[in-house]
């Protein structure tokens, strides 16, 4: 059904309002919530490696599009080489853990037919023992955490498996939270869409549909998000540094106001 000019205008206004609302939510989230991507995961693998007395630890995340596991953070032996590498979901012990959703402890990888020697060699470090735990978001496996070669013992034991489970749960929470923030805009729109459909509000549903198809962010919204990221960093500084930044920003804002008042270009 064709929309009248009034209806089109109303839809456009609604879309603009939605966009501003989503920007506010996303920016607010990025300012207030700690960044949960690499920094926290890195600290988790380092803690795990040290507490286990292990030669290395890493976290790989599931990429559902490419059906692979991508190594995101690593600590210890081979850490630089393994970063950014990926392994197919059906390969290796780590792949088996991802598919089965069950942890695995292997004392001697030479005796395990699932071990992918080629992959290990490509990272420059071939372990002897592996302890791997799935990272779960609900029932979905979103990644795998591995600990390699316990230094003071020949292999990992049952208690190690339980301990790694605790770290894995932390990592999974951190990843799920980061993924949620990345998609908060989409999630919000989808939720509203469903609500609109359920309440038989075809107009709102159409507007939301149009919103989703409007393509990626404008330069302005990208700048806004970059600013939000900076504010997050500033928030983590010491008191004196933070106050100094606030004064600088206030001065810049005042400069902008006075320029607009005087009509300078």
């Amino acid at each position: 059904m064709e929309m009248s000019p009034e209806e089109l205008a109303r839809e456009e206004r609604l879309v603009c309002q939605l966009r501003r609302l989503l920007q506010a939510i996303e920016a607010g989230g990025r300012v207030l919530l700690p960044h949960t991507d690499e920094a926290l995961l890195q600290s988790i693998v380092e803690a795990a490696a040290r507490i286990f007395g292990a030669a290395a630890a890493s976290i790989a995340l599931v990429n559902e599009t490419t059906h692979s596991l991508e190594f995101r953070v690593a600590y210890g032996a081979g850490q630089d080489q393994i970063m950014g590498t990926s392994i197919p979901l059906d390969k290796g012990i780590i792949g088996y853990v991802a598919m089965s959703g069950q942890p695995i402890a292997v004392s001697n990888v030479q005796q395990d037919v699932r071990f992918s020697r080629d992959f290990a060699q490509s990272t420059g470090y071939v372990p002897r023992s592996i302890l791997a735990m799935p990272l779960l978001s609900g029932e979905r496996v979103i990644g795998v955490m591995e600990v390699l070669d316990k230094i003071a013992a020949p292999s990992f034991g049952l208690q190690d498996m339980e301990l790694l489970g605790l770290f894995a749960r932390q990592a999974a929470l951190a990843i799920a939270q980061a993924q949620l923030m990345d998609h908060v805009g989409e999630a919000f729109v989808l939720g509203l869409q469903r609500l609109a459909m359920a309440n038989d509000s075809a107009d709102l549903g159409d507007a939301l549909g149009a919103f989703q198809h409007l393509g990626s962010e404008s330069e302005q919204s990208r700048d806004l998000l970059a600013l939000a990221d900076l504010l997050n960093e500033i928030g983590a500084l010491g008191d004196a540094e933070r106050r100094a930044c606030v004064r600088v920003l206030e001065a810049l804002a005042e400069c902008g106001r006075s320029r607009s008042r005087l009509g300078l270009v």
């Binding site: 059906d90 598919m99 069950q102 005796q111 037919v113 799935p134 779960l136 034991g157 339980e162 489970g165």
Partner: protein, 278 residues
């Protein structure tokens, strides 16, 4: 969630320094391995391995694999599952063959049936698992090894009904608890024999846990097992503890065919390595 986090971990109660001695007195103390299973080879007992399939011609299994079925999810079918017979079953990963190999090593004359409910990606739906248990009851299995479980709350009642049905048909369901401390159905029901791993290696040494829901501990650490494509590997997990108990149950049933699941659980309790008989 609070309940889950305070539940004892699956392995700790079977660690050497945590094991508690159980005292058996009176007539029950007279139940010993010599009476229960000594001299038995599992002849005449049918054991279903509900898993990823069983490689029928793996050297570690001899001629023990007698057939089975593959259970796939199919929305067009009744109960959403399609059951296809497999006279010469195969294993899509190795997990099922590993379990069958352990059972065969303990009860070499037991007949093994493969009930495949997992796909190549090691996953399956709870409804397939339910159908697998159902198939085992309908087809006269004596013992079922279930080295997998679901943590889906919505299936709690269905699995309860299925396991009770199995119990009343005198089918012994041996179920491995999940390696991760999440709800594990049907492993945690009283009508099944629930098993977790301990660190020993003697296949006939198992322990009883006086603080259920995990009742028995059997070897499950660094166990040398068969794997698919005629391979062998070394594995750790509760999955490999359950078949040890399933094998012993097959031995008991072969020697004493008249026994019910509750008799067998009592015998296991009395014959546990941490039970002192007076």
């Amino acid at each position: 969630m609070t309940e889950e986090s305070t539940r004892p971990a699956w392995s700790q109660q079977f660690a050497a320094d945590a094991l508690r001695e159980i005292l058996a007195t009176g007539p029950i103390a007279g139940l010993a391995p010599e009476w229960a299973w000594e001299g038995s080879t599992g002849k005449g007992v049918r054991v279903a391995v509900v898993d990823s399939g069983v490689e029928h011609d793996h050297p570690a299994l001899g001629d023990s694999v007698c057939g089975g079925v593959a259970i796939e999810f199919d929305e067009r079918c009744e109960n959403y599952v399609r059951i296809e017979p497999e006279d010469h079953p195969c294993d899509l990963s190795g997990h099922g063959t590993a379990c069958a190999g352990i059972i065969h090593a303990i009860a070499p004359d037991a007949a093994i049936y493969s009930v495949r409910v997992l796909g190549r990606d090691m996953s399956g739906r709870a409804i397939q698992l339910a159908a697998g248990i159902d198939w085992a009851v309908e087809n006269g299995m004596h013992v079922v090894n279930l080295s997998l479980s679901t943590s889906r709350q919505e299936y709690y009642a269905l699995f309860h009904e299925l396991t009770d049905n199995a119990y009343f048909h005198h089918m012994v369901l041996v179920s491995a608890v999940n390696n991760i401390p999440v709800p594990s159905y049907p492993s945690l029901y009283s009508s099944v024999i629930s098993v977790a791993a301990h660190e020993g290696h003697d296949p006939l040494t198992f322990y009883y846990n006086p603080n259920p829901p995990v009742e028995f501990g059997a070897p499950g650490i660094d166990v040398r097992v068969a794997w698919n494509e005629k391979q062998y590997t070394t594995c750790t997990g509760n999955s490999f503890a359950a078949p040890h108990i399933a094998g012993i149950v097959a031995l008991i049933r072969a020697k004493h065919p008249e026994l019910t699941p509750f008799h067998i659980k009592t015998i296991l309790w009395a014959c546990a390595a941490n039970t002192r008989r007076e």
